[in-house]
């Protein structure tokens, strides 16, 4: 275990995340460090203790529009609540990143409703990567028709915002035989090229649907060839890796790389290995809002860490 102050700071962030339990993450840029900030605090103008800066971006994940079973018969409603929550923030982030499973069954009408709801976000840019639920139609035609433009229909792409280099990766279209997600050779070659020559002081944010480290292999909660991607990223001073897929927060810090999974806005899932598989978890309806939410992220300069804050719907 590292005692590097950067790691300690990040672990504090992780504890904060655990304390809050809910639905989204806001990311803030303050002199080069990504800092996640609690959404409830951001919305209430108090600001999280010791964390200042402009919210950089918001992570929303696993909206599963189209799901209608008992774990949450109204996923459109909980997404609307999440959006209202974000819109109530006094200082809004410029970007929203959706880390996949926008829809439940990849149906055109589900995508249409999701787009309609997400357009209610008072945030300028929406960036996406697909989840496996978004590409069950085979080639992901419905997803790419709507969200393929940014990546020239490859799904993976990068862009820069406020000095931060963002990289969206696709790990749901090329499964390994053991059930883990995979990036594949073409995408890894693209990633290597994308990072080549970039200054190690550039803060990097990587987003993909499935976890980029193996959380629980029997349920496929990991990406088989993520290590190769990490080998290209390790030289950077601040790397934040954001995923969804598992509908709960799990965080890990490894050197300068912080891994973080977001909550769903639709329904929770069991903790690793708890039950027959990673399906919807039915909880008492009064507990559901405390298990849904978003993540907000700030980037701070001193110390050079990303700060992530998870917020539930209650």
């Amino acid at each position: 275990m590292s005692t590097d102050p950067k790691d300690i700071e990040s672990r504090r962030g992780a504890l904060k995340c655990l304390a809050f339990g809910g639905g989204g993450t806001l990311f803030v840029l303050s002199a080069g460090i990504l800092t996640p900030v609690n959404l409830a605090l951001a919305a209430s103008k108090k600001g999280p203790g010791g964390v200042t800066g402009t919210p950089l971006f918001l992570q929303i994940s696993d909206t599963h529009i189209g799901f209608n079973k008992e774990a949450n018969p109204d996923v459109a409603g909980t997404l609307k609540e999440t959006i209202s929550f974000v819109n109530a923030m006094p200082v809004k982030p410029a970007l929203t990143i959706h880390t996949g499973d926008i829809t439940h069954l990849s149906k055109p009408e589900e995508f249409d409703l999701a787009q309609q709801l997400l357009s209610g976000l008072n945030v300028t840019e929406l960036h996406t990567v697909p989840g496996e639920h978004d590409v069950t139609d085979g080639g992901g035609g419905e997803y790419f028709n709507r969200f393929g433009k940014a990546s020239d229909n490859k799904g993976y792409y990068s862009f820069d915002h406020n000095g931060v280099h963002f990289i969206g990766l696709v790990n749901v279209m090329n499964f390994k035989p053991n059930g883990l997600g995979a990036l594949g050779e073409d995408q890894l070659a693209w990633l290597k090229q994308d990072l080549k020559g970039r200054s190690a002081s550039t803060p990097i944010v990587v987003f993909a649907h499935m976890p980029m480290w193996t959380i629980f292999e029997p349920w496929g909660w990991g990406t088989g060839d993520a290590d190769q991607a990490m080998s290209y990223l390790r030289r950077f001073g601040s790397v934040t890796v954001l995923n969804g897929h598992i509908h709960q927060i799990v965080q890990k810090v490894e050197g300068n790389i912080t891994f973080h999974t977001a909550r769903s806005t639709a329904y929770p899932q069991p903790t690793a290995g708890n039950g027959p598989g990673p399906g919807p978890l039915k909880v008492p309806s009064d507990q559901l809002p405390s298990m849904l939410g978003v993540t907000s992220i700030k980037i701070l300069n001193h110390p050079h860490v990303a700060s992530l804050t998870d917020t539930t719907l209650v």
Binding site: H104, L105, H133, T136, G138, P177, G279
Partner: protein, 116 residues
Amino acid sequence: MFVRSFGRNLVNAFAVIMLLAAVSVTSVSGALAQDANTIVMKNFDFSPMMLTVKAGTTVSWKNLDGEPHTVVSPDGVFRSHALDQGDVFTFKFDKPGTFKYICSIHPKMKAAIIVE
């Protein structure tokens, strides 16, 4: 009432089975044929994981889980859309062989059809 309480896909599947029953003189009842050649998806497994059928048989898959599953042959021989709880996918196997398949959403779910 029977039709209304099931998904559209099942209705379609039922229609396919009835059609098969109609053209096949030796067929027993549609319901029996369906049971014998139906695979269920339950608790993140295909059951049975191995099914042997004669060439020309139509096999049905029914998802009983609250989580959607798919039926996808990596060789591209057959591929379902995402099946919600209660939805059914059918495929007719014309040629002998071993046809492995997975759920593309949960690729740990693996099974095979052997066609004689």
